[in-house]
């Protein structure tokens, strides 16, 4: 390099734009032509990255506003729904991200001091930590996708916040529920309406607005009892099954109160059936209406995990809003429908521990899905930033291996590290806000 230490303001010549003759005697080939010197270039870049970081703060602040508003108005949702998150994963991810921030800051120091090996090591460690963060996030996300703990209308969890079995709206959870779907088209029970999570009750199939008038149940002892109830509303305080707390005792068909308890109602909302009535099991027709592609159905769920040989349902259904698949089954006026027999085989018996967990958790509040809408929006946007950061650090790693960073040209390392710190910073707030709700 040419050396003109005492001519910092010498007019630029046609020197290939490297700025090597800008008068500082050690010019990195990456000092751009239009800057006075390395300091000028560095400071310009630094101002730019700080403006970008300010924009990032504002960018994320919109999601924080959504979080704060929703938590302010619905604290019960947060205190219930955060139990779906595993603090262990969140804490490990926090530590991983803090460590990667440390190595990113150290990478800047190495670049400033021209320690090439240290720089490469620090950048590589940062990338490994970022990938580990995403790996843990993958474990968390895949668990949530598997259990249908998702955002918006896709929230249909198979387990309660306490980890217990949960009866769900669409009966999507394989192999654990004692449910049956009644197909009014054939009068027979079908296995279930939904096979895919992305099936939307409002899109395909037929929607039926049905009111169950009467149930006929035969218990294990062979006795047949009939009782009438409205399926909308809440579970009764007193269990119709005679107040026994365990599911086996509740199996006694003879303990059903016939007919006369028509005024009682059962819960038609999502949640743990066993958690109601002081832990006593109750009948719980699932979300109404159920939608089937073949015909119109009522999804009946029994939260007590009791096997039933024969169940008969009488229901009154109103006209379906879009009867494309059911023909003129419910053309206009409400019809009385009687359904055939069905056997209901529970596939999962709650253990005493699980029952206690369900009782302790209590019925879930409404609109828990909003928590996960916010959760996925915030962690998702943060995750995208992490992915982008990995790309930037890979680029830096390649340049560092090529030896392109010198004490007078390490701006990119510094700027990327600043970006990485702001990603860490946002996670520092996300972790207590999402995982550590008391």
């Amino acid at each position: 390099m040419t050396d003109h230490p005492h001519a910092p303001h010498e007019p630029h010549g046609d020197d290939l734009g490297h700025g090597a003759d800008h008068g500082h005697g050690h010019g990195s080939p990456f000092i751009a032509h239009h800057y006075d010197d390395a300091q000028h270039q560095f400071d310009s870049g630094k101002l730019g990255i700080w403006l970008f970081l300010a924009q990032e703060v504002l960018f994320f602040s919109a999601l924080f506003v959504a979080y704060i508003l929703y938590r302010y108005h619905h604290p019960e949702i947060y205190s219930y729904a955060h139990q779906y998150l595993d603090v262990k994963y969140g804490a490990i991810n926090t530590a991983v991200l803090i460590f990667s921030s440390l190595t990113a800051a150290w990478a800047v120091r190495c670049a400033q001091l021209n320690q090439k090996r240290g720089l490469i090591l620090c950048l590589a460690t940062t990338i490994v930590c970022a990938c580990a963060f995403l790996g843990i996030k993958y474990i968390e996300y895949s668990h949530k996708i598997h259990e249908h703990i998702l955002f918006g209308r896709y929230f249909d969890p198979c387990v309660s916040a306490g980890g217990g079995e949960l009866l769900t709206r669409n009966n999507n959870c394989a192999g654990t529920k004692s449910t049956v779907v009644w197909d009014f088209g054939t009068g027979t029970p079908t296995a279930g309406c939904f096979t895919e999570i992305d099936q939307d009750p409002r899109r395909d199939g037929v929607q039926a607005d049905c009111t169950v008038k009467e149930y006929e149940v035969s218990g294990p002892e062979g006795k047949t009892e009939t009782f009438k109830r409205d399926i909308t509303g809440q579970c009764p305080e007193e269990s119709p099954f005679g107040g026994e707390a365990t599911s086996s005792a509740a199996a006694g068909g003879g303990k059903l109160e016939p007919g006369g308890k028509g005024g009682e109602s059962v819960q038609a909302k999502g949640g743990e059936a066993a958690a109601h009535g002081g832990g006593k099991p109750c009948w719980r027709p699932a979300f109404q209406p159920a939608v089937c592609k073949k015909g119109v159905g009522i999804l009946v769920e029994y939260g007590d995990n009791v096997e039933r040989e024969h169940t008969r349902i009488k229901a009154e259904c109103k006209a379906a809003p879009k009867p494309s698949d059911a023909g003129d089954l419910f053309a206009d006026k409400p019809q009385n429908l009687e359904l055939g027999k069905a056997a209901i085989h529970p596939r999962h018996q709650l253990t005493v521990h699980e029952q206690h967990e369900l009782e302790a958790a209590g019925p879930p509040p409404e609109h828990i899905n909003m928590f996960f809408t916010i959760y996925f929006a915030m962690t998702g946007l943060h995750g995208i930033h992490v992915i982008f950061g990995i790309g930037v650090f890979l680029w830096l790693l390649i340049r560092a291996i090529k030896g392109q960073f010198t004490p007078d040209y390490f701006g990119p390392v510094d700027y990327a590290a600043l970006y990485w710190h702001i990603v860490d910073l946002i996670w520092i707030f996300l972790f207590p806000l999402l995982y550590l709700i008391h």
Binding site: H26, Q39, Q55, L102, I428, F431
Partner: protein, 139 residues
């Protein structure tokens, strides 16, 4: 770094930051001790905030405690990892300005949020009561 560059840099920065003398080359070099102390404190504070959740101080105090620890951690990151303590004052102005703008955003949104928590659906069978008083007359 040539003497000219160092001098011009310090001339710009010395008044803005008492730690300008620590600068090496283009910017401040964070000592290893500072980096390790910051990283260690952040990890310790993470453990503290997790443990604090297990103690029941009441929902509000737990939330305030968690947020206080988060703010402390964020401050450590900004001051030492992001070099803001040694950096130009103007960068601090930008960053604090962004946070103030975000606070303004939150504050103004929270100010009248209670006004929108009830949905009033027009019911033709039970219209809202007419305003009390005589109807306005024409002219």
């Amino acid at each position: 770094m040539s003497a000219a560059a160092v001098d011009s840099h310090h001339a710009e920065d010395a008044h803005a930051d008492p730690h300008g003398d620590d600068h090496h080359g283009l910017a401040h070099v964070a000592p290893v001790k500072v980096l390790l102390a910051t990283g260690g404190s952040l990890l310790v504070l993470t453990i503290v905030t997790v443990l604090a959740t297990k103690v029941d101080f009441g929902a509000n105090i737990n939330l305030a405690l968690a947020m206080a620890i988060a703010v402390l951690k964020a401050t450590l990151v900004v001051l030492f990892f992001m070099h803001l303590r040694y950096d130009r004052l103007f960068h601090s102005v930008i960053f604090v300005g962004a946070i103030l703008a975000a606070a303004l955003f939150v504050g103004f949104t929270l100010m009248d949020t209670n006004q929108y928590q009830q949905t009033n659906i027009w019911n033709p069978d039970a219209p809202p009561a007419a305003p009390i008083g005589p109807r306005p007359t024409n002219g």
